[in-house]
C-alpha cells in the first residue's frame, strides 16, 4: 500500500497536459514561424504596438513553465500541502498561451488579445445572470431548470417595453418582471402543488418558447415598428479607466448591463454568505426543518428567492435584446439557459464561481470564433464543440465532486 489517500490525479493531469502542450505546440510544429499578438484598440490611452514572437520557442517556454508547475503540484501533493487556485489558473494560462502562439503562427491576421477577452465577456453575460438565478433558487432549495425560459421571457419583454417606451432602460426594468413571473410559476408549482421541480422547469421552458414565439409571429412581426425595434443601451465609458489598454475596453467600455452584472455578482457573493437574508436562504436550502424550528418560514423564503432569482435571469435576458441592440427573435436564447445551469454547478453554487465558470465558457466559445476568423484548418462543426469540450474537461479534470444544497428539489412538508 502506498501513502494513504494522497490523490495524484490533478498532478498527473497537469503533467500530461503540459507534456502534450510541449510536444504538440512546441516540438512538432516547424520552426521559423512567427505569431503576432495585437493588444491595443484605437481609443486606448497609449498604444501597445502589435508584437511578434517566434512561435516555436515561445510555445516551448510556456509549456516548460506549465510542466514546472506540474512538478510543483506533485511535490505539494506528496507533502500534503494545499496550493491555492493560483496553480491551476497560472497553469491554464501557460498552456493557453502556448496554444494561442501555436494556433496563430504565421497567420495573416494577428491574434487580437483584447477582442478575444471582450468577446468572452460578451458571451458570458447572459450565462452569468442565468447561473446567478440558479444559485439563488438552488440555495433556497428549488432546482431551476427554467433558466432558459426566464432568459427568453426577459429578452422578450425587454424588447417590447423598450420599443414601446422608446427607452432601453425601461426594457431593462421590464425584463426582470418577466423572469420573475416565470420564477413565480416555478415556485408555485414546486411548493404549493409539489410538482417535481424538474418537470415544472422543463415544461416552463416549453411554455415560454410557445408564448413568446406565438406573440412574435403574430403581434411582433405584424407591427414590427411599434413592438419590436428596441433601442440599444448606450455604451457607458468610464472616464480614464476605459482607456487603459486591454482592461479598459474589456471592463470599462460596456453597457450598464455589464456593470450591473459585476455589481450583482459582488452583492450576491457578499450577501449570500454574510447577510441575514443569505444565511436564512441557505438554511432553508440545506435543512428546511432546522430553519423552520428557528422560526424561518421555509416556503415563503423559497418563494421570494425563486422569484428574485427569476428576476435576475430575466435581467440577463435583456442582454439579448436591448443590451445587444437587437430585435426579439424566436428562441433567441439558443440554449444558453442550460449552459448557465452547467456554469452554476461548475461554479459550485457560488456567485463568484458562476462568474468564473461563465467566463471560462465564454472564453472557450470566443476562442473558437477568433480562431475561425484568423483562419483555422479545423472544420467549423468541430470548432463549435470547443466550449462544450472545455466545460467537460473543467468539470472532470479540475472540479470533480461538489456538493449541491442538501435539500434542493425536495418539497418541504412538516
Amino acid at each position: 500500500m502506498t501513502a494513504g489517500k494522497v490523490s495524484y490525479r490533478a498532478p498527473i493531469a497537469y503533467a500530461a497536459i503540459g507534456l502534450l502542450s510541449l510536444i504538440g505546440f512546441g516540438l512538432i510544429p516547424p520552426s521559423g514561424r512567427h505569431t503576432t499578438f495585437a493588444i491595443s484598440t484605437p481609443k486606448d490611452l497609449f498604444t501597445i504596438e502589435p508584437f511578434t514572437v517566434p512561435s516555436k520557442s515561445t510555445a516551448i517556454v510556456f509549456s516548460l513553465v506549465a510542466l514546472a508547475l506540474a512538478a510543483l503540484a506533485f511535490w505539494a501533493a506528496r507533502k500534503r500541502i494545499r496550493l491555492g487556485v493560483w496553480l491551476p489558473s497560472v497553469f491554464g494560462l501557460c498552456v493557453l498561451l502556448a496554444f494561442l502562439t501555436w494556433s496563430a503562427a504565421d497567420k495573416a491576421n494577428s491574434m487580437p488579445v483584447t477582442g478575444l477577452l471582450q468577446g468572452s465577456l460578451f458571451l458570458a453575460v447572459p450565462l452569468v445572470f442565468g447561473s446567478l438565478a440558479g444559485v439563488l433558487c438552488e440555495h433556497s432549495g428549488i432546482i431551476d431548470i427554467a433558466i432558459e425560459g426566464q432568459l427568453l421571457a426577459g429578452a422578450f419583454l425587454a424588447a417590447v417595453v423598450a420599443t414601446m417606451s422608446h427607452n432601453p432602460y425601461a426594457g431593462l426594468i421590464a425584463a426582470p418582471i418577466a423572469g420573475a413571473l416565470v420564477g413565480l410559476l416555478l415556485v408555485l408549482f414546486a411548493v404549493k402543488y409539489r410538482v417535481d421541480q424538474i418537470i415544472v422547469g422543463v415544461v416552463l421552458n416549453v411554455l415560454v418558447v410557445g408564448v413568446t414565439s406565438y406573440l412574435f409571429s403574430t403581434v411582433l412581426t405584424a407591427h414590427r415598428e411599434t413592438w419590436n425595434t428596441p433601442p440599444k443601451l448606450p455604451v457607458l465609458e468610464i472616464p480614464f479607466l476605459s482607456r487603459i489598454p486591454v482592461l479598459g475596453p474589456v471592463l470599462f467600455r460596456q453597457t450598464i448591463i455589464v456593470y450591473l452584472m459585476f455589481a450583482v455578482v459582488i452583492v450576491l457573493q457578499v450577501m449570500l454568505f454574510r447577510s441575514r437574508w443569505g444565511l436564512r436562504m441557505r438554511a432553508v436550502g440545506e435543512h428546511p426543518k432546522a430553519a423552520d424550528t428557528v422560526g424561518i418560514k421555509v416556503n415563503r423564503t423559497r418563494l421570494r428567492n425563486t422569484v428574485l432569482g427569476g428576476a435576475i435571469a430575466g435581467l440577463g435576458g435583456a442582454f439579448f435584446t436591448v443590451a445587444a441592440g437587437l430585435a426579439f427573435g424566436k428562441e433567441m436564447t439558443g440554449g444558453k439557459g442550460f449552459i448557465a445551469l452547467a456554469a452554476m454547478i461548475l461554479g459550485r453554487w457560488s456567485p463568484k464561481g458562476a462568474l468564473l465558470a461563465a467566463l471560462l465558457f465564454g472564453f472557450a466559445d470566443n476562442l473558437q470564433v477568433v480562431l475561425g476568423i484568423i483562419g483555422t484548418p479545423v472544420p467549423s462543426q468541430l470548432m463549435l464543440m470547443t466550449p462544450y469540450l472545455a466545460t467537460i474537461f473543467a468539470v472532470a479534470g479540475l472540479v470533480g465532486r461538489n456538493r449541491p444544497p442538501a435539500s434542493e428539489g425536495i418539497p418541504y412538508v412538516k
Partner: protein
C-alpha cells in the same frame, strides 16, 4: 369598430372560378425566419390576395414534422403543396409518388437518383436559386468599397444553401483582386478548403453579433452574414462599430430590416416570393410542369439589391464594372461556380 352586415360576413370567399388550394410547409426555421421560409410564405400570401386562391400552411419545428405536415396538407386537398428546403425533399418525393394527382414544388432542392443523376419527378417542380451568381457581384462590390482591405462573411450552419453565398462572395472578391491587382482579403471563408466561420445555429443573434465583432476587430469593414435572423446580430455589431457595412441576404434588408438601413450596402437577393407566386399561378392556370425553375441573374431570380442610401459610397466605375460582370454572367461568358450550386 362597427359590426359588419351579416350578408357580407356570410360570403367571405372570393367569387373566382373553381377554388384552388395552395399550401406550404416550412422547414424547422419557421415562417418568420427572415430568410427563405419567410420569403416563400410571402409568395403564398401574395397568391391568396392577388389570385384569390385558398391556402393552408404548416410550420415545422423539427425534422420529424415534415412527413406528417405534408400528409396533413394532402388531407386538406391541397392542389399544390410547396415545401421549403432540401430537408423536406424525401418527404416531398414520397408524398408526390403516393399522390400522383397532386402537384408539388420544393424550394432549394434537386432530386437525384442513386447514381447521383438528376431525377425528374412528374408532379414536383424544384425551385432553385443560383445565389452564387449574385453573391459574386456582392463580393466584387464589397472588395471595391472596402477601406480596410478586408471583408468578411460567415454562416449559420455549414450547409450548401448557405455556403453557396459564401463561395460566390469569395470568388467575387478574388475577381476584383485579379482585375485591379489588389489583395482584398476575405475573412470567414476559404472556398478551396470549404472551411470558415459559422455560429452553429439560426437562433442566437448574439452569436452573430460576436462573430461580426470579431471580424470588425480583425479589420473587416464589410460583412455578408448568411445566417437568417442571426445575421441581424451582425448588423447590430456593424452599427455599433460605426464605419462597417452589411450586405444582406435573401431579401432586401433595406426594406425588411429598416432599423439598419443606414449600413445596408446592398443585399444578395434570392427572389423566392415571385417564384412561389408564379408556380402557384401557372399551376392554377393548368400550366404546371416539373422542369426545375432556376433563379439566376438571367431571369432575375437572383440579383443584387439597390445601394439605396449608400449609393454614394459606391464609385461609378465600380457600379459599371458590376453591371458588366452581370452582363457577362447573363451572356454566359463568365461562369460562377460553387460546389453547392444547383
Amino acid at each position: 369598430a362597427s359590426a359588419p352586415s351579416s350578408s357580407s360576413s356570410a360570403s367571405a370567399s372570393k367569387p373566382t372560378g373553381p377554388a384552388f388550394k395552395a399550401c406550404m410547409v416550412s422547414d424547422a426555421g419557421g415562417f418568420d425566419d427572415k430568410s427563405f421560409n419567410q420569403a416563400g410564405f410571402q409568395g403564398l400570401n401574395r397568391a391568396v390576395t392577388e389570385l384569390g386562391v385558398t391556402e393552408a400552411h404548416a410550420e415545422s419545428k423539427a425534422n420529424s414534422d415534415y412527413v406528417p405536415n405534408i400528409d396533413n396538407m394532402i388531407q386538406q386537398n391541397c392542389d399544390l403543396t410547396i415545401t421549403v428546403g432540401f430537408l423536406l425533399a424525401d418527404a416531398t418525393k414520397a408524398a408526390a409518388t403516393a399522390n400522383p394527382a397532386k402537384k408539388f414544388a420544393i424550394i432549394d432542392n434537386q432530386f437525384y437518383d442513386a447514381d447521383g443523376k438528376v431525377l425528374a419527378i412528374a408532379n414536383v417542380k424544384p425551385l432553385l436559386f443560383d445565389t452564387a451568381q449574385a453573391s459574386y457581384l456582392a463580393g466584387y462590390l464589397a472588395a471595391g468599397v472596402t477601406k480596410t482591405g478586408k471583408v468578411a462573411t460567415f454562416g449559420g450552419m455549414q450547409i450548401g444553401s448557405v455556403t453557396i453565398f459564401m463561395d460566390g462572395f469569395a470568388d467575387g472578391v478574388a475577381k476584383y483582386n485579379t482585375d485591379n491587382g489588389k489583395s482584398v482579403q476575405v475573412l470567414g471563408w476559404d472556398k478551396a478548403s470549404q472551411k470558415g466561420s459559422f455560429t452553429g445555429d439560426f437562433d442566437d443573434q448574439s452569436k452573430g453579433q460576436n462573430v461580426a465583432k470579431g471580424f470588425i476587430d480583425a479589420g473587416a469593414d464589410i460583412i455578408l452574414p448568411v445566417a437568417g435572423p442571426v445575421g441581424l446580430g451582425a448588423a447590430a455589431a456593424a452599427t455599433a462599430a460605426g464605419n462597417v457595412k452589411i450586405i444582406g441576404v435573401d431579401q432586401d434588408w433595406y426594406v425588411t430590416a429598416p432599423e439598419y438601413k443606414g449600413i445596408i450596402l446592398s443585399s444578395v437577393l434570392k427572389q423566392m416570393e415571385p417564384a412561389v407566386f408564379d408556380v402557384i399561378k401557372t399551376t392554377r392556370d393548368g400550366g404546371f410542369d416539373a422542369t426545375p425553375y432556376k433563379g439566376t441573374l438571367v431571369n432575375n431570380g437572383v440579383g443584387l439589391a439597390p445601394y439605396h442610401d449608400l449609393d454614394s459610397a459606391v464609385p461609378a466605375e465600380l457600379k459599371a464594372k458590376i453591371e458588366s460582370l452581370k452582363a457577362q454572367i447573363v451572356a454566359g461568358t463568365l461562369t460562377v461556380t460553387s460546389p453547392s450550386a444547383p
